[in-house]
């Protein structure tokens, strides 16, 4: 019977291989589904608004008649200008209808942001953080995004590691559902969690092991930590070779929320400290700075709206060093700035260390756009934030997004428009 079970599973695995790479697709499908419902709601609102407009028109006409009858002039207070602490984008590139043709020409040590060409979804492009140099990098294996390291010098395309010229420099062979690694802050290594069953762990769960690897090299086992099952997973939130530590996060049931996380010393495998959470108490989201020195725990208290959140930031020794009443989704390279996104269209860059109730964000995202991705400039102070319309046009499962780069002074530049995948 066991043999038959394995044969049937193998047959299904072979069949599913034809489906291809689906990494990242879950979020796209859910976002598209929810956006579609938003569109329907918008139509209903328009219909309702149409009726309301007719009523208002009738009311205004009635009021005018009444005012004329009374002949009393009325005064209205001047509309107060709306002040926003937003540093508006200072530059917007001209919309592009053709793909970049010139090869990206920058020195090997210059960090770049990789993105899918808005006009050719099979082409990967790159742009420097100052937006001064952009160009074509290489064709992609799929229409989906790639997974670049922080400096954009290497990236994962399907099961291949490629360099900035598009040359294959290694293959990803760990038996998981796809590349499940987290690039390290040295842009050469990556941390990953592995388990005996790979992408199909036993239903009862399997122990996972943290290991450090580099393209084309054998991985080094660090420590066994966490478990994976059909309904839970373990991920690496930060992998810092320079800081000699990683943050391993264990999801709660159904993959939602967080059960526990560990701060691990990479050279020894020692658990430096850990936090665990009571199941079901609240939804907990854990985000770590690239240097693994700061960790944000954002709790969404059950029964309240998602935008009523509390975040506590913990420092290198595990002591609380800051509190913010906003959800944190990313840190800058040194952890001094953070990106906040409540998933309702309020994206901001904040200085979390000095944050107090009523504090002004360093930068606030444009209205009507929701955050898709945020990542820091390696060894720099800038943050890249990818935003897209809350109600995007349907484009075959692809949501075109814009890339803003925000400086520590709040100055923002829009470097890329309408790309289906950035960073």
């Amino acid at each position: 019977m066991e043999r038959l079970r394995e044969d049937i599973r193998a047959a299904f695995v072979r069949q599913q291989e034809r489906l291809g790479d689906v990494s990242g697709l879950s979020h796209v499908l859910v976002r598209e589904a929810m956006a579609g419902m938003d569109r329907n709601r918008a139509r209903l609102r328009q219909t309702a608004a149409g009726g309301l407009a007719a009523l208002l028109t009738a009311a205004v006409v009635g009021t005018l008649i009444a005012v004329r009858a009374n002949a009393h002039p009325t005064t209205h207070p001047a509309a107060r200008p709306v002040t926003a602490p937003t540093a508006a984008p200072t530059a917007a590139p001209t919309p592009k209808t053709t793909a970049l043709t010139q090869q990206l020409q920058v020195s090997a040590g210059t960090p770049v942001i990789l993105f899918t060409d808005p006009a050719d979804h099979q082409q990967l492009d790159g742009i420097t953080w100052d937006g001064q140099t952009a160009g074509r990098v290489a064709p992609k294996a799929t229409r989906y995004g790639v997974l670049p390291n922080p400096s954009g010098s290497l990236y994962v395309d399907g099961t291949d590691f490629k360099d900035r010229s598009g040359q294959v420099v290694g293959h990803y062979t760990t038996p998981t559902k796809g590349f499940a690694g987290t690039w390290a802050d040295d842009s050469q290594h990556y941390c990953e969690m592995v388990n005996p069953g790979g992408g199909n762990p036993a239903a009862s769960g399997e122990p996972t092991t943290l290991q450090v690897a580099a393209p084309g090299q054998s991985p080094r086992r660090v420590v066994q930590v966490g478990t994976v099952s059909q309904q839970t997973f373990v991920r690496v939130a930060a992998c810092s070779i320079t800081g000699d530590r990683a943050v391993v996060v264990q999801s709660a049931g159904q993959g939602a929320s967080t059960a526990q996380y560990w701060v691990v010393q990479l050279s020894t495998g020692r658990i430096l400290w850990t936090h665990s959470f009571t199941p079901g108490a609240s939804m907990m989201q854990v985000v770590a700075a690239p240097n693994a020195q700061y960790i944000a725990e954002t709790s969404y208290v059950a029964g309240q709206q998602a935008n009523t959140t509390n975040t506590t930031v913990y420092g290198a020794s595990g002591l609380a060093v800051g509190h913010v009443s906003l959800p944190i989704v990313a840190f800058s390279w040194d952890g001094s700035l953070a990106v906040s996104d409540d998933y309702y269209g309020h994206v901001a860059v904040i200085n979390w260390l000095g944050w107090k109730p009523g504090s002004t964000p360093v930068w606030t995202g444009p209205d009507g756009l929701v955050g898709h991705n945020a990542f820091p400039e390696p060894n720099g102070q800038r943050m890249a934030i990818v935003v897209a319309p809350k109600d995007p046009p349907f484009a075959g499962g692809i949501t075109p997004a814009d890339l803003y780069v925000i400086g520590p002074d709040g100055q923002a530049r829009k470097l890329v428009s309408s790309s289906p995948s950035i960073g």
Binding site: R31, A281, M283, G397
Partner: protein, 178 residues
Amino acid sequence: MGGTLTVTPEQPLRERALAGDEAAFEALITPLVEPGLRLAFSMLSDRSEAEDATQEAVTKAWRKLRQLRPELPLRPWFLAIVANQCRSVRRGRWFRVTRVAEVWPGGKPADLGTERLDIERGLARLPDQDRQALFLYFFLDLPIEEVAVALCVSPAAAKSRVYRACHRLRPHLVEEGV
């Protein structure tokens, strides 16, 4: 394998989703989308149609969330919606019945043992419901109770369906039962 249906750990998220919190619903449903997509692909054999069916299932899950009994887990319920959506697509006039053959192309015969090739041919010949039962049980590793919810049958019927399908594939290997 095995397991029982219990009150699920994602209950607080469910409560928030029921209260209209889209972020909570997204957190609940996103981990289930890939299994749903794979189930849809196993039934439709076309990636874009599988994506459409799964996306539609997400929409329906959001709308029907109040119909989900609190004691039932979300996963098999969502997979049942996916399966129903796929059946609707297959009933549509645009669906090409020949696609079932495309799902099981036979691959490179030289790379496969005769028995494995027989398994693939056998799976292709199974009734849809039996093949879905095997997919849920053996590929997605759902406990038989969740297979039952996903197929909208009793646990006994789900077990019987898996057993029957296995027997059809390898009559001499199913003596131990499921």
